[in-house]
C-alpha cells in the first residue's frame, strides 16, 4: 500500500514535501515510513506487550524507545534523540490504561538531510496512530533555523541550508491547543527570535496535522 | 572445591582435630600433602609446568612476546599473570563463574612479584622506550582440592624456572624505529633467575562458630578451607623476606596471632622454596632427553 500526498505550492508553505507509507512492516503492531524532503525515517510500534520485570511500573505502561542511526552503533547523540522521542511519546500516550505493560517504539534513521529529530517524532506519532493505541492527542514536530548572514527565518530547512544556520529550533506541538510539548535548540538566540520562530512553526504544524488526517483517511478507505 | 558441603558436626570434628594437631588426613598442622611437579609439559610455550598437590591440579604456560614498554617505565619489561579457572575443576566455574577467583589469585601473584627484589623488570628490557619482553604467565586450574594459592605459586615458579627466552642477537635503533633480531637457534636462549622468586604460603585459621585457640594449618584441604574464617596468604622469598601479605576470608585476627602466623609462614616458606628448587634441579639432572609424561601418566 502506498499513500501519497504532497503539500501544494500555493499554500506558500514552508515545509518540504511530505510522503508516507503506512504499515509496510508486517511484524510491528503499527509502522510508518515518513519522508520530509530527503530525510527518511521508519518507525515501528509494538504494544502493549508484557514489560520486563525490572522496568515494570504498577500504575502505568512503560514506554521504551530505540533510536538506531543510519550507520554504526548508537552513541551519545542518538541517546539524546531517543530521550526526546521517548518523553514525547510518553506525553502522547494514555499510559495509565495499560498498567504493568510496555509499549516499545523503534525508530530507524534511513537518511538525514536536515530535521531528523522532527521527522523521527512525526514518524513515531504516525506509527502510534496506526497501531491504534489510545492517545491523548497527536503531535507534530517542526524544525526551523535562522540564517547566519541574512538573519532570515527558514522553516523546515534541508541539510544545505542548515550549514549556514546560526540557530536551529525543533518544536513539537500537540494537536488541540497547539501548546508546546517538546523543544530542542542549538546556538545562541534572543527572546524575540525564540518567540518569532515559535509562532511560525506553530502555524506550520497545521500542515502536518492536515497531512496526518489525509493520510490516515486514505489508509482507512483502502482498508 | 567441587561440592564441599559440611555439617556443623563435621566442621567441629575437623576443628577439634586441628586443635590436637591431628588432621583428618593424618597430617599435622604444618605438613604439606604430597606434590608432583613436571616442567616443559607444553612444548609450544616458552616455559610450562604442571603441578599436582593432592587432587589440586595446576597447569602453567609462560609465553614471551616482544612489546613496547609503558611510557612511565621505559626501561622495564612487563610481566602479566592470568588465572583461568577451568570448568573442568567444577561446574561452578562454567562461563564467567570462575572469574572472581581467577582475578583474586592473579592479583595476589602480581603483588607477590611486584618488588624489584623479586624480578628486576629492567632485565626484560631490550631497547629502552622501544622494545621489551612481555611475559605472559597463564595459569589454568584444572582441579581444586584446596590450597590453590600455594599450588599456583609453586607451579608458576616452576614454569618460570623452565622458561627459555630467545636471545636477542641485534638490537639497534634505525631512525627512531627499533630493529631487533632474535637468535635462530632454539637452544640459544636466556633463562630467568628464579633465585629470589617467592612462593605463597597460605595459613588457614580454623574455627567455626566458636573460636578455638590460635592454631592455624598449612596446605588446607577444601574441607578445611570450608571451616576457616580467615586465611593469611604470605609471599615468602627464598631468603625469608616477605613480599606480600593478603588476608582472605571474613574473619579478623588478634595482632599477636598475626605476628605468630607470619613467623610460621616465613619458616615454612623457606622450606617450601628449598623443596621446589630441589625438585626442579633433580628433574634437570634427568637431562634433556627425559620422557615427558604430561597427563598420560
Amino acid at each position: 500500500m502506498q499513500n501519497q500526498l504532497e503539500t501544494t505550492e500555493e499554500e506558500e508553505c514552508v515545509l518540504r514535501p511530505m510522503n508516507c507509507e503506512l504499515n509496510q512492516l508486517s511484524r510491528p503492531d503499527g509502522s510508518a515510513m515518513f519522508m520530509q524532503g530527503d530525510t527518511v525515517v521508519v518507525a515501528g510500534v509494538y504494544g502493549p506487550i508484557e514489560a520486563k520485570l525490572q522496568k515494570m511500573m504498577h500504575d502505568r505502561a512503560t514506554v521504551e524507545t530505540m533510536f538506531s542511526p543510519a550507520k554504526g552503533p548508537p552513541c551519545v547523540d542518538d541517546r539524546a534523540k531517543e530521550t526526546v522521542i521517548r518523553e514525547t511519546c510518553e506525553a502522547v500516550l494514555l499510559t495509565a490504561l495499560h498498567p504493568g505493560m510496555a509499549i516499545s517504539i523503534n525508530v530507524q534513521e534511513l537518511q538525514d538531510s536536515g530535521g531528523l529529530l522532527a521527522c523521527a517524532i512525526n514518524a513515531a506519532c504516525l506509527a502510534l496512530i496506526i497501531s491504534s493505541i489510545s492517545m491523548k492527542f497527536t503531535v507534530a514536530a517542526v524544525s526551523c533555523m535562522i540564517d547566519r548572514e541574512s538573519g532570515k527565518l527558514i522553516v523546515d530547512p534541508d541539510s544545505t541550508q542548515i550549514q549556514q544556520a546560526r540557530v536551529t529550533f525543533t518544536y513539537v506541538f500537540e494537536g488541540i491547543k497547539k501548546d508546546l510539548v517538546s523543544c530542542h535548540t542549538t546556538g545562541r538566540f534572543s527572546e524575540n527570535e525564540l518567540m518569532e520562530s515559535l509562532e511560525k512553526c506553530r502555524a506550520a504544524s497545521q500542515n502536518i496535522f492536515d497531512f496526518y488526517r489525509n493520510i490516515v483517511e486514505q489508509y482507512a478507505i483502502k482498508l | 572445591m567441587a561440592n564441599t558441603l559440611l555439617s556443623l558436626a563435621e566442621k567441629t570434628f575437623i576443628v577439634h582435630g586441628v586443635d590436637d594437631n591431628y588432621r583428618t588426613d593424618g597430617r599435622n598442622r604444618s605438613e604439606y600433602r604430597p606434590m608432583e611437579v613436571e616442567t616443559k609439559v607444553l612444548p609450544h610455550t616458552s616455559g610450562s609446568a604442571r603441578l599436582r598437590l593432592a587432587n589440586t591440579d595446576i597447569l602453567v604456560g609462560v609465553k614471551a612476546e616482544v612489546d613496547t614498554p609503558y611510557p612511565d617505565n621505559p626501561n622495564e619489561g612487563k610481566l602479566e599473570f592470568f588465572v583461568d579457572c577451568s570448568a573442568n575443576a567444577t561446574p561452578a566455574f562454567e562461563g564467567k563463574g570462575g572469574d572472581n577467583l581467577g582475578t583474586e589469585i592473579s592479583n595476589t601473584l602480581t603483588l607477590a612479584y611486584q618488588s624489584s627484589h623479586v624480578l628486576d623488570l629492567t632485565t626484560l628490557c631490550i631497547l629502552p622506550q622501544q622494545k621489551c619482553w612481555k611475559l605472559y604467565v597463564d595459569v589454568l586450574i584444572l582441579q581444586c582440592d584446596g590450597n590453590l594459592f600455594d599450588a599456583v605459586a609453586l607451579a608458576v615458579k616452576a614454569a618460570l624456572y623452565s622458561a627459555q627466552i630467545p636471545k636477542v642477537t641485534t638490537a639497534t635503533l634505525d631512525g627512531g624505529k627499533a630493529d631487533i633480531q632474535l637468535s635462530d637457534d632454539p637452544f640459544d636462549c636466556v633463562k630467568l633467575d628464579v633465585g629470589s622468586f617467592p612462593v605463597l604460603v597460605t595459613l588457614c585459621k580454623n574455627f567455626t562458630f566458636i573460636q578455638i585457640g590460635e592454631n592455624c594449618v598449612v596446605d588446607p584441604t577444601s574441607e578445611e578451607e570450608e571451616c576457616s574464617a580467615a586465611s593469611i596468604v604470605v609471599a615468602v622469598m627464598p631468603n625469608g623476606r616477605i613480599t606480600s601479605v593478603v588476608k582472605t576470608g571474613y574473619g579478623s585476627l588478634q595482632p599477636s596471632t598475626l605476628v605468630k602466623t607470619l613467623e610460621l609462614a616465613k619458616d615454612i616458606g623457606i622450606k617450601l622454596n628449598a623443596g621446589i628448587m630441589n625438585a626442579l634441579k633433580e628433574e634437570d639432572e634427568l637431562g634433556s632427553q627425559r620422557e615427558i609424561f604430561g597427563f598420560l601418566k
Binding site: - | 612511565d72 571474613y250 579478623s252 588478634q254
Partner: protein, 282 residues
C-alpha cells in the same frame, strides 16, 4: 583510549603535560631529604589531621566524608537489597564494596572503568569491613558500599575504609565496632606512618643497592580497635619479618589513637539524629 559508545570521547592518544616538564630530574634528591624530615614537616610516626563528617549525601541511607591531609574521600551506603544473580539462600548477608578514584583524583588521569588496582582495593575494603558488620542480621541481602576518592594525597585506601565504616554506622547497619585503618611504608630502615603520594611512590621503588637487601614496601592495616582485632593486613614490597613485627605494633597503636576521632563524629551523628526526631515530634 578505547572508544566508548556511551561517553563523549576525546582523541585516541593524549599525553599528560607533566611528561614534558623538568620536575623529573629533581626527583633523586627527594629521598634523602624525606628520610630525615618529611616534606610536610611531620615526624615519621605522626599522622596527618583527620576531618570526618557523616550524612553528606541526602539520597543515601548513610554517607560520610573524610579528609586526611589533602586526601578526600566520600562514601555512601544504601538500603539492603536482594543479592543479585544468586539462587541459593545465603545465611550471611553480603557486603558489596566499590572503590573508585575520580578521573581527576590522581596525578595521572584515570579512566572511568575500574582498573585492576581499584578492583583489588574494592576487595581489600570488603575484607576489612566484613568482620565488623553483623552480617547474620540481613541474610540473603546485600549492602552496597561505594567509595569515591576525589583527591588522592596518599593513603586513600585507608581513608576509604574508615569513611566506609562511618557510612555504614550512619546507615544504621548493625556492627560489632568501628573500623579504622592506617598505612605505613618502609624505605631502607625508615618507617613512615600515614603516607603521602610522594612517600608511596618512594616506598614502592626498591632502594638502589640490593645487596644487602634493603626494605621497601607498603603496609595497610585495618583494625577494630575496640576489640583489639586486625581485620585486614595488606602488604606489598619486600620487608623482613622483624620490621613487619615492628610495623604491626606501631600500626595497632596508631589505630587505637584514631578511634576517638571517629567515635566523636559518630556521637555527633547520633545527637543530630535524636534532635531531628524530637523536632519531628513537636
Amino acid at each position: 583510549m578505547p572508544f566508548d559508545q556511551k561517553r563523549i570521547n576525546g582523541p585516541e592518544v593524549s599525553v599528560p603535560y607533566s611528561v614534558y616538564t623538568d620536575v623529573n630530574k629533581s626527583k633523586s634528591s627527594k629521598p634523602k631529604k624525606s628520610l630525615h624530615k618529611r616534606v610536610d614537616g611531620r615526624e615519621h610516626k605522626d599522622l596527618r589531621k583527620i576531618f570526618v563528617k557523616t550524612g553528606v549525601i541526602s539520597q543515601a541511607k548513610g554517607s560520610a566524608y573524610i579528609e586526611v591531609g589533602i586526601t578526600k574521600v566520600v562514601c555512601s551506603v544504601f538500603d539492603p537489597r536482594e543479592i543479585p544473580n544468586k539462587n541459593e539462600y545465603s545465611l550471611q548477608g553480603e557486603l558489596f564494596c566499590e572503590f573508585k578514584y575520580a578521573p581527576f583524583a590522581c596525578a595521572k588521569r584515570r579512566i572511568h572503568q575500574q582498573d585492576a588496582e581499584e578492583k583489588e582495593f574494592s576487595l581489600v575494603m570488603q575484607r576489612s569491613l566484613e568482620p565488623a558488620v553483623c552480617r547474620q542480621e540481613f541474610p540473603n541481602f546485600q549492602v552496597d558500599v561505594y567509595a569515591l576518592v576525589l583527591d588522592n594525597g596518599g593513603s586513600s585506601l585507608a581513608a576509604a575504609i574508615m569513611c566506609a565504616s562511618l557510612a555504614l554506622a550512619d546507615a544504621s547497619v548493625p556492627m560489632f565496632g568501628l573500623v579504622t585503618a592506617v598505612s605505613a611504608g618502609f624505605y631502607k630502615d625508615t618507617m613512615f606512618l600515614d603516607l603521602t603520594v610522594e612517600e608511596e611512590v618512594l616506598c614502592n621503588s626498591a632502594p638502589a643497592k640490593p645487596n644487602p637487601p634493603n626494605n621497601h614496601g607498603l603496609i595497610m592495616q585495618a583494625a577494630l580497635p575496640q576489640h583489639d582485632q586486625i581485620s585486614e593486613f595488606f602488604l606489598v614490597g619486600s620487608i623482613n619479618i622483624d620490621c613487619i613485627k615492628q610495623a604491626i605494633e606501631t600500626l595497632t597503636v596508631a589505630n587505637k589513637n584514631i578511634c576517638p576521632v571517629v567515635q566523636q563524629c559518630l556521637v555527633k551523628t547520633v545527637l543530630r539524629a535524636l534532635k531531628r526526631k524530637e523536632q519531628e515530634k513537636n
